[in-house]
Chain length 267, copies 2
């Protein structure tokens, strides 16, 4: 799909406006006592807040107005098919558990692209004031109107690398076992960062993020940011990750290859 | 120990100056590529950075100048005995693993008090710009020169509560087993926040922080902040926690009692 320069500029500007719209809602409710959380599924605690729904509604309003022929796939409402060939993939609050706990680790995730995967992505953390944007020729973190380039780390030995995942449980038991095998080979494993872990990877602070059980809206924004910064994002066997599932996000080709080997399941 | 109002004001003002001195150093090195980490012990990865040492040196300089007769106990240098009966307990960068990973979860910890425990404490997170200070009649978070009061949560059922700890490993195997028993009874367990978890507790965002293997400089600052906000900080059996070891920090008396019961070891 060919994207001319006017279209590219419009997508970037729309992405910023979508992130701005979400942040007004998310910050209004962040750390407020009245916040309520419901269970989405019976077995798994997955809080959906009023803020989540209101933020996605605000994001959709911007897209409907600015890009009426694009499709929308969001976490909170039904998918909207478009005619342009481009779809926006939205997660208003990635890391709702972090959000309801007051941690500045959640983020608003935005991606846009054709069916094959995102061409532009945003991770926005409005409490710290950091916006990470990658794709269409840019890879930058913007804070207080200052931009700094995003560049992932050069290769280092797996034994010297830093690995992040959201929960120690990671996924199903066999996925956790594979993750733990990888964890034993790295210098440091940390948890609890939600989508902010991908931002740390894009900033060159860490080497690997490994997760399982993701949805497309959990990964498309981070994927575009990490890839624009020089990283690699695939599933655990090296295939495409934009549909979610098991994800490896790596700072470079060498560490990615080592992680794929370490995660390959053995009986 | 009687503290008159001039002394109280001087301790608060000194604590702010100590935090300011540390933040200049910690922010200068935060997320910089040149950061190096050494291993303090052979068995356990515990990075000590140049920033850690330089920050504590800057903190000690302020105390030597402003409060020359007070003692100092810090993580990085030898203890200095004082003559005033008051000792400053310092951790320039609590959460060095978070610090070297770029996460905004580390903090500078400051406490001051007689041998019986801290009367004033600070948790300072200079990247997010949040300073939490508690004791001597105050309990507040200061950000961008605005102060907001710190108040812990009212009681709720253990099954509805949010629990934090730094690592899933928690401590020794029997401590981890006890922690996991508690974890099964709460709504949500999260990891990876370092000292920021105590700030979340003081802000009324979460219900419990449970850790093991702490040093006095890891807990005295957070303890003073949490207690000033209405919370309770003890060891796992309900005794004093200011010397470190196993720690429960709880939002209120009810949840504290439930946590003590859940953590009590059973064969």
């Amino acid at each position: 799909m060919e994207l001319d320069s006017d279209l590219r500029a419009d997508l970037v500007s729309t992405a910023h406006e979508v992130a701005d719209a979400a942040s007004k809602v998310t910050l209004k409710h962040f750390r407020k006592v009245a916040l309520t959380a419901e269970n989405k599924s019976e077995n798994d605690f997955d809080p959906v807040t009023e803020a989540d729904r209101a933020a996605e509604a605000a994001m959709r309003e911007v897209i409907h107005r600015r890009r009426p022929t694009d499709g929308i796939l969001g976490e909170e409402f039904a998918a909207a098919k478009g005619q342009s060939g481009l779809t926006w993939v939205l997660d208003p609050i990635d890391g709702t558990r972090g959000y309801i706990s007051g941690t500045p680790t959640w983020g608003t995730l935005i991606a846009v692209g054709p069916a094959g995967g995102p061409v532009l992505g945003v991770i926005d953390q409005p409490f710290t004031g950091e916006r990470f944007i990658g794709g269409l020729g840019r890879a930058e973190m913007i804070r207080s109107n200052l931009s700094q380039p995003l560049v992932t780390r050069p290769a280092r030995a797996l034994s010297q690398s830093i690995l992040f995942s959201t929960f120690p449980e990671v996924g199903e038991p066999h996925e956790r076992a594979a993750f733990d095998r990888l964890g034993k080979q790295v210098l440091l494993t940390r948890f609890g960062m939600d989508c902010y872990a991908y931002a740390l990877l894009a900033m060159g602070q860490i080497d690997l993020v490994v997760e399982a059980g993701l949805n497309s809206y959990d990964i498309q924004g981070p994927m575009a940011v990490v890839e624009a910064a020089g990283g690699i994002v695939t599933n655990w066997t090296g295939g495409p990750a934009h549909q979610g599932g098991q994800v490896i996000a790596a700072a470079n080709r060498d560490i990615h290859a080592e992680a794929v080997v370490a995660l390959s399941w053995k009986a």
